[in-house]
Symmetry: C2
Subunit: 299 residues, 2 copies
């Protein structure tokens, strides 16, 4: 608790994470349901831990406009499923070839490449299946959020970013390429997470615009912080290999702007993200704290 | 033309295929749109040819209940996109390791493994994005077809079938495993294709049930015919490697029942598929001819 009797940001995140984890546990098919191995692989990667940043942003964004958690939770969980899909596929030998993720061996190291590819496919598919289930959200809004998520995950969003990232490896990248990669590979889904909550709330266009600006700024700040941790962090704290970006000559902010300038940019983005939510006063407090937390975290 | 002045089944399929190809051309992002390489890879596999069986079944099923092609076409195209995604991922070295598909080198042979994985991901994502676009279909129906497609593609459908297929390779499989693989790996999506047309038409439950029965029977007959072609066909006609199922000790109907009994089962399934549509009289003619065509085709 802090002096105001409110949970500290760390305790708040832990509590929210527990709520999201419970929902993930609920929406994932049980391990004992055939075909066994794929459900085991899907659960392994999703339930391996993780900050649950995207679901929490979605929940807070919905709460900003007065929506109950019960209405938001399955969409929030779907956002974590698609995030995990992207991690599993990015970690594959043909892509970034990572052995460690969230402190555990990556999916393909445990289940083999075929199962890792299928587990990613399964999580992506499950997310869309969940988002289209009949529920309390008006059908038109449900369609809109599926559509926006589809776009954010597609070749003009997350997949496009991964393509550009792979293409840029080992090359001298320009500033606009670096920004394109970060905006699409990380930014698009974080922005979609913020919008999902507000969309479910039926928020009008100007509110959606503010929430989008928040999501874009936070998404970019988060990726810069991630790049900085890759340079400065320890493998034990991060739960994944460090220094890999540099080894693989990846396009990163520290490599382009240097560490100090990257930190300055991240701080500016967090300030912008906070300011854009100022009209909501105290209701936006947690979203503002989350933005701040993202650039000060050690893992 | 046949004596009744009607297109022969072959000419009919060619005409329908041209219509579907035009729609696929329209919904796929242009090659010159960045990031270039992924759109090139997606277009390569989708536009490499193919029977367009799933979209044509969807179109015919919708026409059965009086829906205009314009309302059906984008959903029909989405079905082909997800089918192509499944082929690209199935062909990967970690899966079936195929070099040839639809008479051309497989995606990973042309664009590399990373791009093939991402092209598959991109097609799956694009399909859901297309299906959720605002359009003439009532939002509730649109959601239902996204939901059903999600289920058909998921771990209890297509992905489940692929998992079971990989798990069964090299093992003595039981009859129920063989049927599970065929029902899920091929049947689920063909059944969903038939249902999609009827769903868009707002067909009532008993019509949906008939169309589902048709789809299930045709899906299984089609897979048996495919297994038979793998044993008996020529590589040139098929546009993919033959005899691979046997080399890889795959679970197939001919391996389990023998060639003659497999043919008999396929014929029975086609008869069942035709009979279930008898209540629609002449309107169901094309769907019945398609079922027949599938088991007599040479490629």
């Amino acid at each position: 608790m802090n002096p105001a009797g409110e949970l500290s940001i760390g305790d708040y995140i832990d509590a929210e994470r527990a709520r999201v984890d419970k929902e993930l546990e609920r929406v994932l098919p049980p391990e004992e349901e055939p075909p066994y191995s794929i459900h085991k692989a899907m659960r392994y990667s999703v339930l391996a831990g993780g900050k649950r940043l995207r679901p929490i942003i979605c929940l807070e964004s919905g709460r900003l406009f007065g929506v109950d958690d019960e209405v938001l939770l399955s969409a929030a969980a779907a956002l974590e499923l698609v995030h995990t899909y992207s991690l599993i596929h990015d970690d594959l030998p043909a892509m970034d070839n990572d052995d460690l993720r969230r402190g555990k061996p990556t999916s393909h190291r445990v289940f083999g490449e075929a199962m890792a590819i299928l587990a990613g496919d399964g999580l992506l598919t499950l997310a869309f299946e969940i988002l289209s289930r009949p529920g309390p959200i008006p059908a038109e809004l449900q369609l809109q959020l599926i559509h926006e998520l589809g776009f954010a995950l597609g070749t003009h969003g997350l997949i496009g970013g991964q393509v550009a990232d792979l293409a840029a490896a080992g090359l001298e990248v320009k500033e606009d390429t670096l920004q394109y990669i970060h905006r699409t590979k990380t930014g698009a889904l974080i922005c979609a997470s913020a919008r999902t909550g507000a969309l479910i709330a039926g928020a009008p266009e100007d509110d959606l615009a503010r929430v989008s600006q928040y999501g874009e700024a936070v998404g970019l700040a988060f990726q810069i912080a991630d790049d900085l941790l890759d340079v400065l962090g320890s493998e034990r704290e991060l739960g994944k290999a460090v220094g890999k970006d540099n080894d693989q000559h990846k396009a990163t902010y520290p490599a382009f702007y240097g560490v100090e300038e990257s930190r300055r940019i991240a701080r500016r983005l967090v300030r912008e993200a906070s300011e854009v939510l100022a009209p909501y006063g105290d209701s936006a407090r947690r979203l503002q704290q989350l933005a701040q937390f993202l650039i000060t975290r050690q893992s």
